[in-house]
Symmetry: C2
Subunit: 317 residues, 2 copies
């Protein structure tokens, strides 16, 4: 009988559930829709039924439940006003799961923090005690690990590097402010940079035929691989702003490495190259060349659920 | 017989030595010149003799030695390439003191970190586990406390908020880069802002008669108290840039409070007012209004030596 932790990644569209053993192997996995449940209790019940179903097929023993979700607070065990979820206000997600699994530990945190613990237990940060994970996707999240512990801060919301200001009075952000790193380095931010460059230059580009609505970071990557100058310049500009803010992050917590995670990192050297170059240009001399910029060491499949399950395995030690 | 820790603050000009009991009371204090010793060994011997002298007059028992110094590394116990000290290279300051006091604990860290521990044990952060101390002076230093522990990071140099970039391609900094927070929010940075404003406006000002060399933050404060518009605008601009970077710092570590420390804070509401206003304008909504901006709770006299001694009392618990 293999011991497993259930890792639950609550996304805006789908919720992925994985049963993960202490070596980081996903024994069994499934998913449900996030959007079809009017009531949060109904949603948690459906996840619990999915866990139970996965357990019967896998012959495993459940030792705890880890939940990664947007705007989740480790201290309170709640999701608080997540803009991408249909349920508003404060959702006591840990308490709801404890109702279904009395006596089992339930740990809740945001998805970037879960990714960081996943990297520490099973991925690129296995030997590290001080590192930062930056998740690039619809948004830009971050999980900061200091001395082997996730940095939660006074209120449980530490590690919002995506919402530091990269450009004063810059692009409008979903958070209500302007110029956040997220508006430049997220998948959508990369697309916004494409359109700025298309507007300001007369350079021919295969991206000129794609609407704002249809543009994706993957299409920009594809164009850059063809040598498209607008696409290449987009990655250069993205790397400049991301590198600048990573240099700031290094000055705060002096990590051994920064790990980039998520869709846009599939562009490989196109994004890592300029980001690392500018990071080292903008960082204080004593850190220059001393902080590694790495890609995720976690497998692509079920990665968010793996990180969520790692929250439990970290506690078990 | 009162137990005391020796707190040593090594400054560019003077080195202050205080014997501090576990309640934070300085039982005895003295100072020596930092600049007159050709050899670092000779300098450490002179400090040790001063400690011994202070002990005979105070009837105390020495339990350890805490050293705060520029560019000091907690992990290595060394001062590394401090631009403001005459001795170059790596100075094994902890080892040298251990030679004079075998068996006693010796802790070395930079002056801003020492100030942070001082605030936690004896000052404005007594009840806090997560806070940041920003020292405004010749430079801008910072000490970040997370979960009751100083944040040292992978290499012992964490907490360099003064060397995050506030203005891309901005003012030249002593660190060799451009636009560091230090070039705007230090005492010298405040003076630089005065001259930018004097140059760009035609506003009459009592500061127009003072040379660059003779300008001080204290004179700017004095002028602002007389209602001088250039001086008032200088504090407004200083607060805007400092507030912006404090907002970034909050997004990293989510502190309960930020404590400002050092000469320019004597301007009181002139500097605290705009800094707090802009900090709350630029910070992510969930932190807005939730992070206190405080002035130091340590007494002015011997404050740096008090912080250095606190390094020992923290360890004693």
């Amino acid at each position: 009988m293999v011991e497993v932790a259930a890792g639950i990644d609550i996304g805006g569209t789908n919720t992925v559930i994985g049963l993960v053993d202490r070596n980081g192997t996903t024994q069994s996995a499934g998913s449900i829709s996030t959007t079809q449940y009017v009531d949060i209790d109904e949603f948690v019940m459906e996840i619990s039924q999915e866990i139970d179903k996965l357990m019967t097929t896998a012959e495993v023993k459940l030792v705890g439940i880890g939940v990664g979700a947007p705007n989740a607070n480790y201290y309170s065990g709640s999701i608080e006003d997540a803009p991408n979820l249909r349920w508003k206000g404060v959702l006591p997600i840990a308490a709801l799961f404890k109702g279904h699994y009395p006596g089992l530990p339930v740990v809740v945190t945001n998805d970037a923090n879960a990714a960081a613990i996943g990297e520490m237990l099973f991925g690129a940060a296995k030997t590290m005690k001080d590192f930062i994970v930056i998740t690039l996707g619809t948004g830009v999240g971050s999980g900061i690990v200091v001395n082997g512990q996730l940095l939660y801060g006074h209120d449980g919301f530490a590690g919002e590097i995506g919402h530091t200001i990269a450009v004063l009075d810059g692009r409008q952000c979903g958070c209500g402010r302007r110029g956040c790193l997220e508006t430049y380095a997220s998948a959508g931010g990369i697309c916004r940079t494409v359109f700025e460059l298309l507007a300001s230059s007369r350079e021919p580009s295969e991206l000129r035929g794609i609407s704002f609505q249809d543009m994706t970071a993957a299409k920009v990557t594809e164009a850059a691989k063809h040598g498209d100058k607008i696409a290449l310049e987009t990655f250069e500009k993205t790397g400049k702003i991301l590198g600048l803010k990573l240099a700031d992050a290094i000055a705060h917590t002096s990590p051994e490495a920064i790990i980039l995670f998520g869709g846009p990192t599939k562009a490989g050297a196109l994004i890592f190259g300029p980001t690392e170059r500018y990071m080292n240009e903008y960082v204080l001399a004593q850190f220059r060349g001393n902080v590694k910029l790495l890609s995720s060491g976690l497998p692509d499949e079920n990665v968010a659920a793996l990180g969520a399950a790692a929250l439990i395995w970290q506690g078990v030690g």
